[in-house]
């Protein structure tokens, strides 16, 4: 099996890495780049805990081979806050609305929300829920998560 050289930009920083063909993007984010905010859940694309944005599109990083992400721009949860630590409005809203309990689903939820709001800045509740169908939460019952996204969409629209 041959190691491959890939170049990826993660949270604005360029990296050059040697990866095995069998490593997933999720594996290398957590294990090579120490970005452990993105979580390993089901590894079958069903739970959304591993969701990151590649070129502004949400994807399940457990199903993306590292080699396939060559040349891509990746945003993980660690890249959302400002360089000075200012939280993104979605992160703030999740905290203020109490939408976080154990926190395991939260990075995936927030990035799915970002992907939604980037495309649809004023979503209805149904549209918010549809955007989250691939994100499972075992703690909150989803109500506060939807509320937080609604609040964040207001904040982002000014």
């Amino acid at each position: 099996m041959n190691l491959r050289n890939i170049r990826i930009k993660v949270n604005g920083i360029d990296y050059e890495l040697m990866v095995k063909p069998t490593e997933t993007l999720l594996d290398i984010l957590r294990e090579k780049l120490n970005l452990v905010g993105t979580k390993k859940g089901c590894e079958t694309g069903e739970c959304g805990a591993c969701i990151v944005l590649i070129n502004n599109r949400s994807v399940n990083s457990c199903l993306v081979l590292a080699v396939e992400s060559d040349g891509g721009e990746i945003l993980t949860i660690e890249g959302l806050a400002g360089k000075d630590g200012t939280l993104h409005p979605i992160q703030k809203a999740f905290i203020e609305e109490g939408a976080i309990q154990c926190g395991y689903c939260t990075p995936g939820m927030i990035l799915s929300a970002k992907a939604l709001l980037d495309r649809n800045p004023d979503p209805s509740d149904i549209e918010i829920k549809e955007a989250l169908v691939g994100n499972l939460c075992r703690c909150t019952g989803y109500i506060r998560i939807v509320k937080a996204i609604r609040a964040a969409s207001c904040e982002l629209r000014g």
């Binding site: 069998t22 079958t44 694309g45 969701i51 994807v59 399940n60 199903l63 081979l65 549809e130 691939g134």
Partner: protein, 303 residues
């Protein structure tokens, strides 16, 4: 969950290269599209080939265009989300937009490809049912040349298509929609989303000259058989007839009577599936009837 192991990765530059790899490596290779079924299968114990051949960047499999008959030609590596958000498809082939929107989740739709959805050979595949209802054809290419066939004839058995190991599905061709064509798609699952359907129905009908006489009726059902099927008796009943509540009821009964789903099943019993065929065929046809009535009412107001 198991780690992925045992395969090497090849990224061919074009279709010719990809086909040569698939042909030379034979059973030791597999085409990698979105990976949303393939990689999951590996983790669940499926056979892992020595070589995965990434076909997503092959130029011949990408993009979409309209030909001079107004037919839509979609590259097989097109993501489901690209189909979902395509304005042209939403306007002219709305049934396909609807089916794409009901698949999986937004993030999976950004990875999964329409070619992959078809080549998986599932009789429940959302894009398969919608595309059959739209009269789609597929182009298949191998080292020995290309062939084009009706999508309906592409499926042979549960999980099996007529694609040989060293062939690739390259394009999906959807004929220009006739004026007066209406269609819709409904999916039934235990949950509201992230489901492989218990029953999915794609319906397409054409109404000429603003009346309610049905033409080119297509009622496509799955999964009630090893492959997607058409409710042919119901279609014959509707063909040339005026669409009203009475005939919808009859068509729904005929559709349900004709299916023979498997006796036992993980998601639903055979009896339940038959009953749901009746319900969903009725609902899809009623949705089209209601839409026609609303259109007619608007016209009457202005006449």
């Amino acid at each position: 969950m198991r780690r992925l192991r045992g395969f090497d990765y090849i990224e061919p530059k074009n279709l010719k290269e990809a086909l040569l790899f698939l042909h030379s490596f034979g059973d030791d290779s597999a085409a990698l599209a979105g990976g949303t079924d393939l990689l999951v299968g590996f983790r669940q114990g499926n056979h892992v080939p020595k070589y995965l051949i990434n076909i997503k960047n092959i130029p011949e499999l990408k993009g979409w265009e309209l030909d001079d008959t107004g037919a839509l030609i979609i590259g097989a590596a097109t993501k489901i989300s690209e189909i979902e958000f395509n304005k042209e498809i939403k306007q002219k082939w709305n049934l396909l937009s609807k089916a794409a929107h009901l698949m999986a989740s937004p993030s999976l739709r950004n990875l999964a490809t329409v070619g992959g959805n078809l080549c998986n050979g599932s009789p429940a595949a959302d894009t398969a049912l919608a595309l059959i209802a739209l009269g789609a054809k597929v182009e298949i290419v191998g080292v020995n040349g290309k062939r084009i066939l009706l999508l309906q004839d592409f499926f042979i058995d549960a999980g099996k298509t007529c694609l040989a190991r060293d062939e690739l599905l390259t394009k999906i061709i959807i004929p220009h929609p006739s004026s007066g064509m209406e269609g819709t798609y409904l999916k039934l699952g235990i949950r509201n989303a992230m489901e492989i359907g218990i029953i999915n129905v794609a319906v397409s009908l054409t109404f000429k000259d603003g009346d309610r006489k049905c033409k080119d009726v297509k009622i496509v059902l799955g999964p009630v058989a090893p492959t997607p099927i058409r409710a042919t008796k119901a279609e014959s009943l509707l063909e040339g007839s005026l669409l009203d509540e009475k005939i919808i009821e009859e068509a729904a009964i005929l559709s349900a009577r004709d299916v023979r789903p498997r006796y036992s099943s993980i998601r639903a019993s055979a009896d339940y599936r038959k009953e749901m065929v009746f319900v969903l065929v009725k609902r899809t046809l009623k949705e089209i009837l209601d839409k026609l009535s609303r259109k007619k009412n608007i016209e009457e107001v202005y006449v």
